[in-house]
């Protein structure tokens, strides 16, 4: 299994298209950081305009932690496409290249084969997120410095003390990894049904976009099905940035307002991952390789 995993990782990272995702992330983050360096204060004033009419803020509002939050909100909507590029290509890509039948005539079980492939795409997803974390968090901290993190929720403001932010980002990135793995698992599952990669990639993105729209809109009909859509839970990395307050409405350092939501969302995403990968295995084991 380890040998298989090595081979799969080797194949992924020898392909030029793998690096497109890393380059795209670098360019995107770089452009946004550049923009914020130049006009970040204007952006903050625009976003916080409502509150700034009544309150004055003293301190470095635009700091690395806030910039990372802004970047994550943007990136975690678009990164699924980059994940799908690899994950949805795992089986269909092999079929398209014709190497699937060669691989499956080797003394490896189909289960091992699939597990190795999914694990490899999970490692790719992890590495992509590490890269995002490096650029969005560490580079932003370097460029913009650090201070308390003030973010706007839907209708309230949260201020997190500077010493209470970093661990939240560790948690948020961990949760984002689960979200992206569920996208990878979906792409992996859809990859089973095609012999070229375009179909599964487009299908994965279509599902994500469609489900996200259903998850976002506050229409009573949609609200009934939202609990059943995994995209509803994918955004709950933000719960790491919502602390509890004590009786005096002061933030309790190191706390989370809704840890139950985080745990529930994480479990649901894990279930989706296991479900998609499990279904892929069941179907693939029975599949006739005719390509």
């Amino acid at each position: 299994m380890y040998k298989l995993l090595q081979i799969e990782l080797y194949k992924i990272f020898r392909r030029p298209r793998t690096y497109i995702a890393f380059l795209a992330i670098t360019a995107l983050v770089g452009v946004i950081q550049l923009g914020l360096v130049k006009n970040g204060d204007d952006y903050v004033n625009f976003v916080m305009g409502n509150v700034m009419q009544s309150f004055s803020f003293d301190g470095k509002l635009l700091n690395g932690y806030l910039v990372c939050y802004i970047l994550l909100q943007l990136l975690l909507v678009h990164v699924p496409l980059l994940i799908a590029l690899v994950a949805a290509d795992m089986i269909s890509g092999e079929a398209n290249m014709g190497t699937l039948r060669l691989m499956l005539t080797k003394p490896i079980s189909r289960t091992q084969f699939l597990l190795a492939k999914f694990t490899a795409s999970a490692i790719y997803t992890f590495m992509l997120l590490v890269w995002i974390a490096f650029l969005a968090l560490f580079v932003s901290m370097f460029l913009f410095g650090v201070d308390d993190m003030v973010i706007q929720k839907t209708n309230y403001l949260v201020q997190l003390p500077v010493g209470d932010v970093f661990w939240r980002y560790v948690g948020a990135f961990g949760f984002a990894l689960l979200s992206m793995l569920s996208v990878a698992a979906l792409g992996f599952f859809l990859s089973n049904f095609a012999e070229n990669s375009i179909g599964p990639i487009v299908a994965t993105m279509s599902v994500i976009i469609f489900f996200t729209i259903l998850s976002t809109m506050s229409i009573p009909l949609f609200q009934k099905i939202q609990p059943f859509l995994f995209t509803t839970y994918m955004v709950n990395w933000k719960e790491f940035f919502d602390p509890k307050v004590n009786a005096d409405n002061a933030v309790i350092v190191g706390s989370l307002q809704h840890p139950d939501r985080i745990i529930q969302s994480a479990l649901i995403l894990v279930l989706h991952i296991v479900g998609f990968v499990g279904a892929t295995m069941v179907l693939f084991k029975r599949k006739d390789i005719l390509s």
């Binding site: 009544s54 803020f57 003293d58 003030v150 839907t154 209708n155 955004v235 602390p243």
Partner: protein, 230 residues
Amino acid sequence: MKRLSIVLVAFIGFQSFAFSQDMTALVNKVKAKLDKVNDYVAEGSMKTDVAFIKAPVGRVKVYFKKPNHFKLKRDGGISILPKGGVTVNMSTLVAGNDFVALSSGDAVINGTKVKVVKLIPTTDNSDVVLSTLYIDETNLLILKASTTTKENGSFEIEMSYGKFISYALPDKVIFSFNTKDYKMPKGVALEFEDEEKLTDAEKIKRKKGRVQINYSNYTINKGLDDNVFK
């Protein structure tokens, strides 16, 4: 009859004058006590208690220099303060002579009998429209002040005294303001609203907000550079 009316008006006017003179005298006595402090640097903790703001308790440093230089700086981190209000301190409230001080009776605050004095600015360019001071006559301390301003609405300041009572410097200041007309934060993120939050949002608007500063230490009359207030 005409003479009686004149006498009566003069008497009432004299009485009023006597009373207002009394309130001005009281205010001046309070001012004199406050004037003992040329400058100070205070350390303490500050807590912003607004229903739609979750903020931590933070360390603050407060700088004051006569006649009305006042600055509140968060000692590390970001401070979120209602506009205009928390910069007001007692010295700035009673500074100058451009006001009329009128008695508004007596009251009891935290078991202490106080005189209620209304300060009405006599100049048009003052931001303050009306201030009501609750003065502990015995100790010459302002225990509470309610102020209405043109630009920044109305607010209340409550003070408790302890170690630095001789300088009329409070241990605790609670600054209260009305958030009814404050604009709510509007997030642009992908937040999925639920009914519970929407209902709370309405309730939030009706509440008041508070900023509480607990002073742990004052460094008084040691000299302060004007650059601190820039």
